[in-house]
């Protein structure tokens, strides 16, 4: 008898079929990775096991935990089960905790709900659980509030709540997707040690193949509510009998083929950033003291040549986005200069004129929130035209819209549609078209592929590579995802605490990192091949 057996689980929400005959099985002490892209039904499967389905859901099939059929359980019995026998950890640690309760109370609540223990005893167990997840009492007393903690620390609190009563099964739904790589590595290590110590089953839901290859003993691959392939990790990856598994595998390792020099002219810089400083004023400590400053960007210098693709990597809070805003001259700098083609673009107290602004364009991370939903595509992508001295006439405007759309792989007829008619990947293409239409010399891609599924991400990377090859446009590619930066850039800069700590040819930096922080980042990044090799080596050793 397995710890959890899901058989023929079919589910629909308001008559819209979501899951079809899903079968899953997990043993105690085992990690099951459930992999799929957005909309594949992996989170709904987890919520079905928890019986926390959205309103209007109907399901059939069987879910058995330790041999007990959950479909026969009443809501009251399920409440007794949740948190006690099954714990769950969610994706977004920033919002998963109640902001008006202390972390101690929130962890202790799990214990109070399920056992008759006193408040004091519950707090003692809560303290133990927090210690176990690496939040020691000296820095993290029980009376701290969630807003005092970082994302990684909050995720540890959520894990502490889920494991406080040592459940038999833990479900973690994208537990590290919102976290930095080094934090991700720590949280994954923590989850693994908890599985070993408590002989707990862990269902790890993720879109990241490299993470499951490292963590999971068995893997199930989901697509459109169906498990297309399932099996033991190494053999599944070695065989990959289903075409979707292969496609997923290829997409996550995808490196666009490049024209070797792709029009790069190494002699002339497009943009030169010279000792740029960005300070933020902190709130005053008292009424009469001058406000302190936080230096988000500390004398950063860099140059990007014509046609060159430069990557900027670093973890959240390192100053990447602040630097982006400074380069776009959206914020005034407190020191240094930014020059565009040798001409002053932005310096202390001075922004650029319109003519120069059109030379730098940007594509943001979230394709769902970066468009006005009431405008049609033609209006959206011609917005930068206001930077031109002479507005193009109707004919030229249409021609340029058509060129921009076909450049990004869309149809000129798409110009008359609204943005909600497009998928996330298509929207990101439209965002790129909006940046391209004004023929800039430099496009800043701020986490431009981070919100996309791997297969879409591979397509957008191909598109970006192709555009850079054909149009000799330069990119500043900002990302926390090292594998993506490695796939598309010529040169890479590593940023930490407002400073560039390492810079060099991308391949060289990745192969032979010099700075300890770069080494740390690379070590924390899960790599599919290495994870599989390590797993095989362990299997042979046993």
């Amino acid at each position: 008898m397995s710890l959890l057996e899901v058989e023929n689980l079919s589910l629909s929400i308001r008559d819209m079929p979501i899951l079809h005959d899903v079968d899953l099985k997990i043993e105690a002490g085992e990690v099951l990775g459930v992999v799929g892209e957005s909309g594949s039904g992996k989170s709904i499967t987890a919520l079905a096991v928890m019986q926390l389905l959205p309103v209007g859901s109907a399901w059939k099939g069987s879910i058995r935990l330790d041999g007990n059929a959950l479909e026969t359980y009443s809501e009251k019995q399920m409440c007794a089960l949740r948190g006690n026998d099954i714990g769950m950890v969610f994706q977004e640690p920033m919002t998963a905790l109640n902001p008006v309760q202390t972390i101690g109370d929130q962890v202790a609540e799990t214990i109070l709900v399920h056992s008759g223990s006193s408040r004091r005893e519950a707090r003692r167990i809560a303290r133990e659980a927090l210690n176990r997840v690496g939040l020691p009492p000296e820095q993290f007393p029980l009376d701290r509030y969630p807003h005092d903690l970082s994302g990684g620390q909050r995720q540890r609190v959520v894990i502490a709540m889920a494991i406080a009563l040592r459940p038999k099964l833990l479900i973690a739904d994208e537990p590290t997707t919102a976290l930095d790589v080094t934090t991700q590595a720590q949280i994954l290590k923590l989850l693994k040690s908890l599985v070993e110590e408590d002989d707990m089953g862990l269902i790890l839901i993720t879109h990241d193949l490299a993470v499951v290859a490292d963590m999971a003993d068995h893997i199930a691959i989901m697509k459109d509510g169906v498990i297309v392939e399932a099996g033991e990790t190494v053999s599944l990856f070695r065989q990959m009998s289903h075409p979707y598994t292969r496609a997923l595998f290829e997409a996550s390792n995808h490196v666009p083929t490049r024209n070797p020099d792709h029009g790069a002219d190494g002699s002339k810089p497009v943009i030169e950033i010279d000792s740029v400083v960005r300070d933020y004023a902190l709130p005053r400590r008292s009424l009469f003291s001058a406000p302190d400053h936080f230096r988000a960007v500390d004398r950063v210098s860099l140059a990007i040549m014509h046609g060159e693709n430069v990557g900027l990597v670093g973890e959240s809070g390192c100053g990447k986005s602040t630097l982006t805003r400074a380069i776009l001259a959206l914020d005034a700098v407190q020191g240094g200069e930014i020059r565009l083609d040798g001409k002053l673009f932005s310096t202390t107290g001075e922004g650029p004129d319109r003519q120069m602004r059109r030379r730098v364009q940007v594509v943001f991370q979230d394709p769902y929130s970066s468009f006005n939903p009431r405008h049609r595509v033609d209006r959206l992508i011609t917005e930068p035209f206001f930077l031109l001295e002479k507005q193009p006439d109707a004919e030229e405007r249409d021609a340029r819209i058509a060129t921009a759309l076909s450049n990004v792989g869309l149809q000129p007829s798409d110009a008359h549609k609204y943005i909600h008619e497009f998928s996330g990947g298509q929207r990101q293409r439209i965002a790129i078209a909006r940046a391209l239409i004004i023929e800039p010399s430099l496009i800043i891609l701020d986490e431009a592929v981070s919100a996309l599924d791997v297969s879409i991400r591979a397509q957008i990377l191909d598109l970006l590579a192709d555009l850079s090859d054909r149009l000799a446009v330069s990119y500043l590619f900002i990302s926390h995802d090292l594998s993506v930066v490695r796939a598309i850039t010529d040169r890479v800069l590593v940023m930490k605490a407002g400073k560039i700590v390492e810079e060099g040819r991308t391949e060289e930096v990745f192969r032979n990192p010099q700075h300890s922080y770069t080494r740390e980042l690379l070590a924390a990044t899960p790599i599919l091949d290495e994870a599989l090799r390590a797993r095989e080596a362990r299997a042979t050793a046993e």
Binding site: M50, L52, E75, K76, C79, A80, L81, R82, G83, N84, G87, M88, F90, E92, T95, A96, L97, N98, P99, V100, Q101, E109, T110, V113, H114, Y145, H147, V158, M161, A162, L287
Partner: protein
Amino acid sequence: MLPFLIKRLISLTLSLLAASLVIFFVIEVVPGDPASFMLGLNASPDTVAALRESLGLNASVPLRYWQWITGLVQGEFGISYTYKVPVGELIADRFWVSMPLSIYALTLSTLIAFPVGVIAAARRNSPADVSIMGVTQLGIAVPNFWFAMLLVLFFAVSLRWFSAGGFPGWEAGFWAGMKALTLPAIALALPQASILARVMRSSLLDTLGEDFVRTARAKGLTHRQALWKHALRNALIPVLTIIGLQFSFLLAGAIIIENVFFLPGLGRLVFQGITQRDLIVVKSVIFLLVFAVILVTFLVDITYAVVDPRLRRRSA
């Protein structure tokens, strides 16, 4: 918490100072001569001059402001031009009607709105929710003076449980006073409760959709426990804002209800002051109301900080 309180207190004092300046300048300085304004078009120059003298209008503007402010602090508001009695006494009498009435109405509306809003949110789209939404819609739409007249017809004229109007004064005893205020308080509370219940419902529905409520459910809390222990407190901020606004409104905005029930309240006093051009009364009542509004805002700010620990640090 202490630096937060001190900061809020400083901002309270500054707001009061600014408000007093605005009131003083608008009423005393800007529209020409208050004395001739109070006496009307047909007054003889001698009468105007006498009134100017007795009002102390011949002193310099800063001095008059200073005298007014120091008077206010000592509780001396001046002598009413029409009633010929100290304004302080006039206001005090009316204040002890309006203030209890406002608190009474607000307590009623909160006591009704909280459970009603929570039930509607907890059973979204159920028959209970639909009927609550319908009734509150009606409560907002019905004019409160009309509702007040219905109350009088039913409870005073037919059932004879309450008197149809008037206020016996607190000398007649606490319960007699409260009884006289009951119908007006109900009339005032109905629309307020309807608005508040709707705010409570929508705010709670928003919070029930938050991730931390799902986390609470994953810990094994029932739907009801998650609502009471996690969603409710987080849903309170918008509700508190509305309560603060409603209290300020009730204090001076009850004038129609005061008229329906013949209550000697602040609303009626200021209305009479305006029609009789008794600027001393108007100025003092306005200042008192401004003071009340600022004080209520201060209290609401403090309650925010009690409810939400994040606000304590941000503002401190």
